[in-house]
Amino acid sequence: MSTTDVAIVGAGVIGTAVAWRAAQRGLTVTLFDPDPTRGAWRTAAGMLAPITELHYAESALLRLNLASLARYPSFVEELGLPTGYRANGTLEVAWDAADLAALRDLHAFGTSLGLSSRLVDGAELRAIEPGLAPGLPGGLVADSDHQVDPRLLHAALTTAARAAGVRFVAEEVRDLGALAAGQVVLAAGAWSGVLGGLPVRPVKGQTLRLRALSPLASGRVVRASVKGSTVYIVPRENGDVVVGASSEEAGFDVTPRAGAVYELLRDAQTVLPELGEAELVEVSTGLRPGTADNAPLLGRGEDGVILATGHYRNGVLLTPVTADAIATLLATGETDPVIAPFTPSRTAVPA
């Protein structure tokens, strides 16, 4: 029986980043996953957008999101490989007066929490991004909300983890207790609930990948509220554009649903008319690991297993802070105060 200091279950962005960081601290690490492409990272657009994705009643999560965003520049620099990190900021666009009213309320809430963004009118929006539809009543500019390409990030993390000595095992783990390891980390995303008996459920999401002839000139992420529905458009350096995302409670079903594709394209074209001419390259479906309060489970669980899961729609954003804090916990037993509010034992809806 082989032994290892740390066994990590799940080689998505979270598991692989934890493996890399733990190996850097001198631990021997084995990473189990027969098919890392199942992870939500492959579908995710990679928005690093704590300000424009702010939700009421998620202010504790906001602090964790901001802490992780602040680590991104050094995190990707240390990886030293292409990650598609783009620090061009984000535009949040309202389609009608009611959408703008909701955006103003959220802006006021964000400002009360000390967040920096500014309201602009439609003319200023189109001065920044001329491809936007005429007639938009206004929006929000968030200069610190950025993006990364999760597929490049995952490849970079995998390369870095291998280079740091992480052992990759392409096997399905069915029993956490059977792993011969000093410590076990569960980073199995949407499957963590089943594997670890945890309150984590799959939340299906669909995104589209388009190839545009003339992508967004500003290089900014565009988020929009179109008659109450949210859509985002994320332009990559190479001209690819990611449009997302649906949110469906459908168990472990990952079949693409036609209506979700229609709704995403309808709303995306409404705010960026030229997208109708783009090539439809891919429809991608993933399962977000959802928790009752939409925040992750970080720290030691009841059975001693260390949890790095339940990141819901923020897995890519929360990768740096999760990897750092879980590696610290593995190497020293200390809980970084930044993850303390997200202890698995916190009270939430029992599941």
Binding site: D105, P199, T291
Partner: protein, 257 residues
């Protein structure tokens, strides 16, 4: 109100507030609003429901001991609505269904022709049908004739929060109803819910007004109180509207100069 039971299809409910969960930002918020609203009946879109997964919406509602009212949201034809109701009956083991057949995604208004067709089929198949309908007294009458166990007229289109746009029609529906009338859709804030009850509705069904509020649990509390206030006001009997002042203090016996 113990002496004022709200009975749907033979089932007595204490709360006259029925909740939908669409638009809730998290399952924890769903749980909070279920508790704060005091509701005993919660409607769930069968298209979005996932009864099998722990921590799913159905699971959260079940844990609070609240009855699930499956609905056919998103259906555009009678055949689609009937099929969705049948799937709901199998998955959730209830023959109650909130029947929703909408005409288009822009207005989400009920398609009256498809609605009547679907309601007839479902009643014949043994369902307890609660149809989401237009604020049309004739259509409401026809749905009752078919055997629906409640009628649920809209106040204004789903998600608009525009309140009750045609209170007179709601009163007309109430005045001849032989089954409970539940105001469904359009509620924006607490006064809208109170008005529905003052007009004589037996209950109120709402979702977005609570789930999309900045503090959903607080708005759920507000709605619970508004429904109770409106019900009390209806039963208490309001004073007539007068054009001229009518002093509340007696004037008899006072000196006249």
């Amino acid at each position: 109100m113990a002496d004022d039971p709200f009975i749907i299809a033979g089932v007595a409910l204490e709360s006259r507030l029925i909740l939908g969960t669409g638009g809730a930002p998290s399952m924890q918020v769903v749980d909070e609003v279920l508790v704060a609203s005091g509701t005993e009946l919660c409607t769930v879109a069968m298209r979005r429901a996932d009864a099998a997964t722990s921590g799913s919406l159905i699971d959260v509602i079940d844990r609070r001991g609240i009855r699930v009212l499956p609905n056919t949201a998103g259906c555009r034809t009678a055949v689609e609505a009937v099929r969705t109701a049948q799937l709901a009956r199998e998955a959730l083991e209830t023959d109650w269904v909130k029947l929703e057949v909408v005409a288009d995604e822009r207005t989400l208004l009920p398609d009256p022709v498809e609605l009547l067709d679907a309601a007839g089929q479902l009643v014949r198949a043994g369902f307890q049908v609660l149809p989401y309908t237009n604020d049309d007294p004739v259509l409401a009458r026809r749905l009752q004739q078919l055997g629906c166990v409640a009628v649920m007229p809209l106040g204004s289109p789903i998600g608009t929060g525009l309140g009750i746009r045609n209170p007179h029609n709601i009163e007309l529906i109430v005045s001849e109803a032989t089954v409970p009338v539940i105001l469904d859709a359009g509620i924006g804030t607490a006064s809208d819910a109170a008005l529905a009850m003052e007009l004589g509705c037996d209950g109120v069904l709402l979702a977005s007004a609570v789930t999309r509020a900045q503090q959903p649990a607080r708005m759920a509390t507000a709605m619970a109180l508004a429904v109770q206030a409106g019900r009390h006001a209806r039963l208490a009997g309001r004073i007539p509207r007068r054009h001229h002042a009518h002093a509340s203090s007696p004037t008899e016996g006072m000196p006249v100069f």
